[in-house]
């Protein structure tokens, strides 16, 4: 089903672009994306789907992932702080009976709707991030006569040794990852609840505005 574009559609598009611009820089989704890409890449690398990585590269990748996660946490924390401030401001305005411009309220609730939507997307993305990893031995077997068996046995022993330490390291990283993930999820929940709270406050404010204006008309 198609219909012609009208000027109302264009005005809505302009509003949409302006709201996009007014939202804080989209660090969170960018960071999630980067994290996701990193994990996918190293997952593939470790499971011999790509080139064989060096230990140093692996450690570097983990550090990068951690760094990105930390950045993510910081950004979410900042937005949480900002929301807290907004919430306090609104509460104060309601308490003092200072009425905000109705148009501003409307644009405020529109922005909140966008924040809420981005938080949902964030939460979905987060649930997709894999935090638990383990490595299984995958080695090349030698088919040489007589010495092949010895080579294989030696290789297996060597791999086991390396993988033992590597898995230990990965286990501890997994724990950190899990903690990060749960922390992020908690923060998203808190953020969402703040958004809900803000929306409630805006509704309350609108009611007060209506009540105020009807009183004014009567008087």
């Amino acid at each position: 089903m198609t219909r012609q574009i009208t000027i109302d559609d264009i005005l809505k598009l302009v509003e949409f672009e302006l709201v996009q611009q007014s939202l804080p820089q989209d660090n969170i989704s960018e960071a999630i994306q980067r994290l996701h890409e990193l994990q996918t890449y190293w997952h593939a690398e470790m499971l011999h789907k790509g080139r064989a990585p060096k230990m140093e590269e692996f450690a570097n990748a983990l550090f990068n992932a951690n760094q990105t996660t930390l950045m993510l946490l910081q950004t979410i924390n900042n937005s949480l702080e900002a929301l807290k401030l907004e919430s306090k401001k609104l509460k104060l305005l309601i308490e003092k009976g200072i009425l905000e411009d109705e148009e501003e309220n409307r644009s405020g609730s529109r922005e909140l709707a966008y924040i809420k939507e981005s938080l949902n997307i964030l939460s979905q993305n987060l649930s997709r991030i894999r935090t638990l990893y383990s490595l299984e031995i995958q080695m090349r077997y030698s088919n040489l006569p007589i010495i092949g068996k010895f080579i294989n046995r030696f290789r297996a022993a060597f791999h086991q040794l390396v993988y033992f330490y590597l898995n230990n390291y990965i286990q501890s990283q997994n724990i950190v990852n899990e903690q990060y993930k749960s922390l992020l999820q908690d923060m998203i929940i808190v953020n969402s609840s703040y958004v809900d709270k803000l929306q409630e406050l805006i509704l309350a404010l609108q009611k007060i505005t209506e009540h105020y204006s009807s009183n004014e008309e009567q008087s």
């Binding site: 574009i5 000027i7 598009l13 302009v14 509003e15 611009q21």
Partner: protein, 765 residues
């Protein structure tokens, strides 16, 4: 928190630029600052210039021409919390100090910062510096363009730090003192970068920012001749060699990268001298001298580095600070200072009763790059507003984000990418205009931040200011000319794209704080075409042009009329401009007066106005096929340059433009400017410009016979040609100059600003 700023200006032999800078500093929004001027061994009238500012500045003399020494003297004399350095040939944006204060006040960890530097250059304007990085081996990049990704990784002694450019940098005074100020062995360059290295190495945070702009208008100095490659490049080599060797010794950085860098610097300088000699720009003696100096600079740099290295850690002794009172620079009348041209330093020679305004004018095309009707009228408005003392910024389309200064206005080029409104790709007109309008809006947001813009003035044509008007970020004044809808109806182009563009125009009008129509006809047309509510505020302000000097005007010589008379037509060759009526009239005229030549100047627009699809030919072919006998008497010039156009106006005897509709008719004014009689149609705003029977003749539109009659009548009467011409010129001087126009717009800008309360953004600032 309002920190105290000490602005240090180091100057030698640049009295003219210095005066401009001081005038510009009076426009700073942030007022808690003092000005310290350190004057080197100057040979010009710098001291006389500074006498005007006696009591408001601190004057210090520096015995030698050494920039670092001069900067240290300024630092030592500073009484502010922050020491900000600006070059004597630069002009700060209005919010320069306000932004620096914000940065230092909000983050106590920041020890040094500085903003972008825009090079205001007549031929190669560019972003000269923005978010620079610098390494101990002397390499420097700007972070923009993603150059950071290509930097070699740290390690092997390669230590990178952010850096500022000396033209625009600020430091916490205590911090700069604690690292010993600037190293005085750098006479001219690298001093700014090297101090950033030392600050970073000492653990201080150096964080340049992208905004807090400074406009750099380079002037000649004793080390460099502006706009040429002639400079004492060996000073640069000495500084680079000294820096690289010293830090190589100290940080044990990579020897080969340093060796290569020094080779590159010195080698490129020597190659440059040789090329200059080949191009005969320098003499053989100068070439030999330069090469000797270059080699000597290399050895001096290395020698000094080894000498300094022995006492590097304790070399920069703390400079003692004496207590001194803080002398604020700003004057009581500062808020009434007219705007300053950063290039010539000129400003309006008038007493202002109210504070000058800061205005952003929008125009997709703008001279000197591209001329069109809107660009031309915007140019005149900008020039007029500057003449009245206001600061004008013009936003126009360009390929790169550069800033020029042209005829009283900062011209910001706004590039745009088609990265938004993807769902409208099938409507190319709407798609492009919305994307451009959004890019303009973003540029305006940065202008609010840097230059504290108060109001936006947009033409209706091409709807540049649509997004800004919808966003309600700033008050918007719309300048309607011929509406898109009128043109689509005239040329019978009614597709969805055109319809939506017309709707966008209507919405822009509805979102405007005020509409400034150029004529009563435009006002009426707006109501008719867009069905606007009568309550919508439409003011009529006629356009104006800059009068040429009295020597340039050429009234008709009625005592000695020329043998051959010239009739000029200027305008695009299209139906709306009445070109077909002129074609029909030409034979009638030539039959009665054979000694007439018609000159037709303007680009052919037969494809767009549908003429080609109807007749299968362009206007020139049409004329040559239909009127072959008269072709020798008609010259088609096509599109002409501005200079050519002026000379055509000057040399013609009669100007004819039988447009079927003109919202105003700027071309008639241009002819009247040279005291030429004009013939136009009774349509649109033309009767408001051309006084029928006084400055020219008016005929009915679509009436070639009337047109021919009017041309013949005038050409047969030399006295009328003379009198109408002079009366036209007088009418222009009385009513239609660019200053008359600017006064009208100033009035409505003030009206709008008095009605609109300041937005949250400006309150924050």
């Amino acid at each position: 928190m309002n920190l105290k700023f000490s602005i240090v200006i180091n100057t030698i032999d640049r009295a003219h630029s210095l005066r401009t800078l001081l005038k510009a500093l009076e426009h700073q929004k942030y007022q808690n600052f003092e000005v310290i001027i350190v004057v080197g061994p100057t040979n010009d009238n710098t001291i006389d210039v500074l006498k005007e500012y006696e009591g408001r500045i601190h004057l210090i003399r520096c015995p030698t021409a050494n920039l670092s020494m001069s900067r240290n003297l300024g630092l030592r004399a500073a009484a502010g919390d922050i020491v900000a350095y600006i070059d004597d040939d630069a002009v700060p944006s209005r919010n320069w100090l306000a932004q620096l204060n914000y940065i230092f006040a909000t983050d106590p960890n920041i020890a040094a910062t500085g903003g972008s530097v825009y090079l205001i250059h007549p031929f190669q304007p560019m972003i000269q510096h923005s978010l620079g990085v610098f390494s101990v081996s002397g390499k420097q990049y700007d972070v923009r363009n993603g150059l950071l990704d290509h930097l070699p990784i740290e390690g092997k002694g390669e230590f990178w730090t952010m850096r500022m450019m000396g033209t625009n940098m600020a430091y916490r005074r205590e911090v700069l003192l604690s690292v010993g100020g600037f190293d005085e062995l750098y006479e001219w360059v690298y001093d700014d970068s090297e101090v950033a290295l030392r600050l970073s190495a000492a653990g201080f945070l150096v964080r340049p920012v992208q905004e807090a702009r400074v406009y750099h208008v380079p002037a000649s100095s004793r080390n460099r001749k502006v706009y040429t490659f002639l400079a004492k490049w060996w000073i640069n080599t000495k500084a680079a060699t000294y820096l690289c060797t010293l830090y190589w010794l100290h940080f044990k950085s990579d020897f080969y990268s340093i060796k290569n860098y020094i080779q590159f610097i010195s080698g490129s300088h020597i190659r440059l001298y040789i090329n200059l000699y080949k191009e005969k720009k320098i003499s053989l003696v100068f070439l030999i001298k330069s090469i000797i100096y270059e080699l000597s600079a290399l050895s001096t740099g290395i020698y000094r580095a080894f000498k300094t290295n022995k006492r590097f850690s304790c070399n920069f002794k703390h400079i003692g600070t004496e207590e001194r009172s803080f002398q604020a620079f700003m004057h009581e009348s500062s808020c009434l200072q007219p705007a300053v041209s950063p290039i010539s330093g000129s400003c309006a020679n008038i007493e202002m009763a109210e504070p000058p305004l800061r205005i952003a004018l929008l125009s997709y095309n703008y001279p000197p790059r591209l001329y069109d009707g809107v660009g031309r009228s915007t140019h005149m408005l900008a020039k007029g507003l500057f003449a009245l003392g206001h600061t004008v910024h013009v936003l126009t389309h360009g390929e790169r984000p550069i800033i020029q200064y042209y005829d009283g206005a900062y011209v910001h080029h706004v590039p745009y990418e088609l990265k938004r409104y993807a769902s409208l790709r099938h409507l190319p007109g709407v798609y492009h205009r919305l994307n451009y309008s959004h890019a303009v809006h973003e540029c305006l947001l940065r202008l609010i931040l840097n230059d504290d813009i108060q109001i936006v003035d947009t033409p209706l044509w091409l709807v540049d200011g649509f997004v800004t008007a919808v966003s309600k970020t700033l008050p918007v004044v719309v300048r309607p000319v011929t509406a898109n809808k009128q043109i689509s109806e005239l040329i019978n182009d009614k597709n969805q794209d055109q319809n939506l563009l017309s709707e966008i125009e209507r919405q822009l009008l509805l979102h405007a704080n005020i509409i400034a129509a150029n004529s009563n006809a435009t006002k009426q047309a707006l109501h008719n075409v867009y069905n606007l509510d009568d309550k919508i505020d439409v003011e009529v302000i006629p356009y104006g042009i800059e009068p040429v000097s009295q020597e340039q005007i050429r009234p008709f010589p009625y005592h000695a009329p020329p043998e051959k008379l010239t009739v000029l037509y200027v305008g695009r060759l299209e139906k709306r401009k009445g070109i077909q009526d002129l074609f029909t009239a030409i034979p009638h005229v030539l039959q009665r007066i054979p000694n007439v030549e018609f000159i037709i100047a303007g680009a052919d627009n037969s494809i767009h106005d549908g003429f080609q699809s109807q007749t299968g030919m362009d206007y020139f072919t049409f004329f040559s096929k239909n009127y072959p006998g008269y072709l020798s008497k008609v010259r088609f010039l096509g599109e002409v340059s501005e200079e050519q156009l002026n000379s055509l106006y000057q040399s013609c005897d009669l100007f004819v433009a039988p447009s079927l509709y003109e919202s105003f008719g700027l071309i008639y004014l241009e002819a009247m400017n040279y005291a030429k009689p004009v013939i136009g149609c009774r349509a649109g705003g033309i009767p408001e410009v051309v006084d029928d029977g006084v400055t020219g003749r008016l005929v009915d539109p679509n009436s070639p016979k009337q047109l021919a009659e009017a041309i013949v009548t005038l050409l047969k009467s030399p006295r009328l040609l003379y009198e109408y011409g002079l009366a036209g010129r007088q009418r222009l001087l009385n009513q239609f100059t660019h200053v008359h126009m600017a006064r009208g717009f100033e009035r409505i800008y003030r009206l709008v600003l008095s009605k609109t309360r300041p937005g949250p953004r400006s309150q924050e600032q």
